[in-house]
Symmetry: C2
Subunit: 333 residues, 2 copies
């Protein structure tokens, strides 16, 4: 008794005593149609509980009425990093009132990104916003779609639309702040080196260090998780006890770094200055609260959504869009 067989447009037309074309017109609100016909159709629709079949409609209009936020990360990552909820929220905002539904897709730990890719490339949605991709392969594959795609974060592939913050500049700002606080030996915990955000924040760090006549060789690679940040910071601090300041490429990792410092008997900010990145919720929940670089996933994703909407409407949005990011000074540095 669950699934019933759905009425078709033909059924509606017949019940309303009009042609299928006319029925289609009133359902889609296309202008020229007489009152009586329209009323008859509408009555038939509610009576039969008619719902247009998207598959059939999509076949001719090439429009499904849904876009997808593709997050090529495992679901535990997605649900444990506050970046993603905020980003998804932004995407939702962009499509609010457009009648376009926003789906979320992430990957199964063991499946990799294959199924997600196959899904999107089968044109089951009208377009995609891609968040947090690693490497360029995924970006390239997604971009081969017949549907428009906008990336949050530089995909590293020329010609693809994206929104981002200026990682190099922001990281340099963060580093300079450490310098201005009198830090003498500064290290950094980076993001993954297969992500632009990871690479560029490191570049900004090194750039600022070089400009100050320092060497930027105290580097440990993290993976944007709490545990990864803790491990990287622990490594760095135990091998180089002279380090008195750390630029950590994300707040989640920075909170891990605080833990690492504690384990080594060092206190933030007294024995160790710390600047994070993202200004995520944890930045204010940490003890001490994190000095960090602003990075608004919601704005990023909302902007990406707006760009996608442009594309869906046949316009070509300017790209890239680079959002400003400011230093937010709290307790950790």
């Amino acid at each position: 008794m669950s699934e019933r067989i759905a009425p078709t447009l033909d059924d509606v037309a017949r019940a309303a005593g009009v042609s299928r074309a006319t029925a289609s017109r009133v359902i889609n609100g296309v202008v020229p149609v007489s009152r009586p016909a329209a009323d008859a159709v509408r009555k038939a629709v509610t009576m039969l509980g008619y719902r247009p079949n998207v598959a059939a409609r999509a076949l001719v209009t090439r429009r499904v009425g849904a876009v997808v936020v593709l997050v090529p990360e495992t679901e535990d990552r997605v649900f444990s990093d506050p970046f993603f909820p905020r980003a998804y929220h932004g995407a939702l905002e962009a499509f609010h009132h457009t009648g376009i539904h926003v789906l979320l897709s992430m990957s199964h730990p063991q499946d990799g990104v294959g199924p997600m890719l196959a899904f999107f490339l089968s044109d089951a949605t009208d377009g995609a916003i891609v968040i947090s991709h690693h490497g360029q392969d995924f970006a390239r594959s997604v971009a081969a779609s017949s549907r428009p795609v906008v990336f949050v974060g530089n995909p590293g592939v020329p010609g693809l639309a994206y929104v981002d913050v200026d990682h190099v500049h922001s990281a340099a700002t963060a580093t300079r702040h450490l310098l201005s606080r009198g830090a003498t030996v500064i290290g950094t915990v980076t993001g993954p080196m297969d992500m632009t955000a990871g690479v560029e924040r490191l570049r900004g760090f090194r750039q600022a260090m070089a400009q100050a006549g320092r060497s930027g060789h105290l580097v440990a690679e993290g993976d944007f998780t709490f545990a990864g940040g803790e491990a990287a910071a622990f490594d760095l601090l135990s091998h180089h006890p002279q380090i008195d300041a750390l630029f950590v490429a994300s707040d989640l990792m920075a909170s891990g770094a605080i833990r690492a410092a504690e384990r080594l008997g060092r206190r933030v900010p007294d024995d160790l200055l710390l600047v994070g990145f993202d200004d995520s919720l944890i930045a204010t929940q940490c003890i001490p609260q994190l000095t960090t670089m602003e990075n608004r996933p919601d704005v990023l994703a909302r902007t990406a959504g707006q760009m996608l909407l442009e594309k869906l409407n046949g316009r070509e949005p300017e790209s890239p869009v680079i959002l400003p990011s400011g230093l937010i000074i709290r307790e950790s540095a």
Copy 2:
């Protein structure tokens, strides 16, 4: 340079020098097809980068290759309650290796469930798992779909398939534990009264109280959020200071109740015994750790997924499936 026009099956067939029917056969792995033909088609597919168009395929097979997890809650709820990630994980598990993609859909705070409903009823997916629905309207609407649906939690509408725990029994067990610990005046913070889980856990509480010859009238309604739990508990405890034990219908709310107790200068478990529900992560992160009732969202959703899979394969799974739930004793009672 983004969207290119996708090659069709016709293109493939032409390139391979076979008919569209044969091309279709090798792509779908239908048995009878000669080696040379198959090879030619496969070569053409990779050469052209051909991807079957789901819309067209779905029109005839009535299969999209994707199901959706419908969560008629706003995204901030979904991302802040650990129930959902675990449930989504379970759903993912159920469809692992099936080639069926699992999408996630939640609602925009201002839109309500309309768009989600419209999306699902347009048959854009092969079926749905519904988690955390309020009231019966949503369940009824969803169930009117031509596609199969399985609910996590009793939808309260006869004839619909669902998985659940025995809320009444579990709540009674929790309450009896409080009783056995010598609690004299026991109150409860409930879930929302428009959700079966809310209503039935209250029923179980009252039942256990009645059986023990107590009155179960000290009730405050919560909403399954931290803040709601804190407010409800605060209310209850400040109006009825004689309360020395609380059954709180979810761990998230129970952690709020601890906060409320603290504000009133009462300590758990010394001045107040507390039993939660869900055995969620926070149960062990709270101070003190929560005594609670087991409730595994992952198993619930995985089971729902398996039932959905059955339905997709034309079988009718047994329903309801009621999962066992045990008492987990920790520090709070």
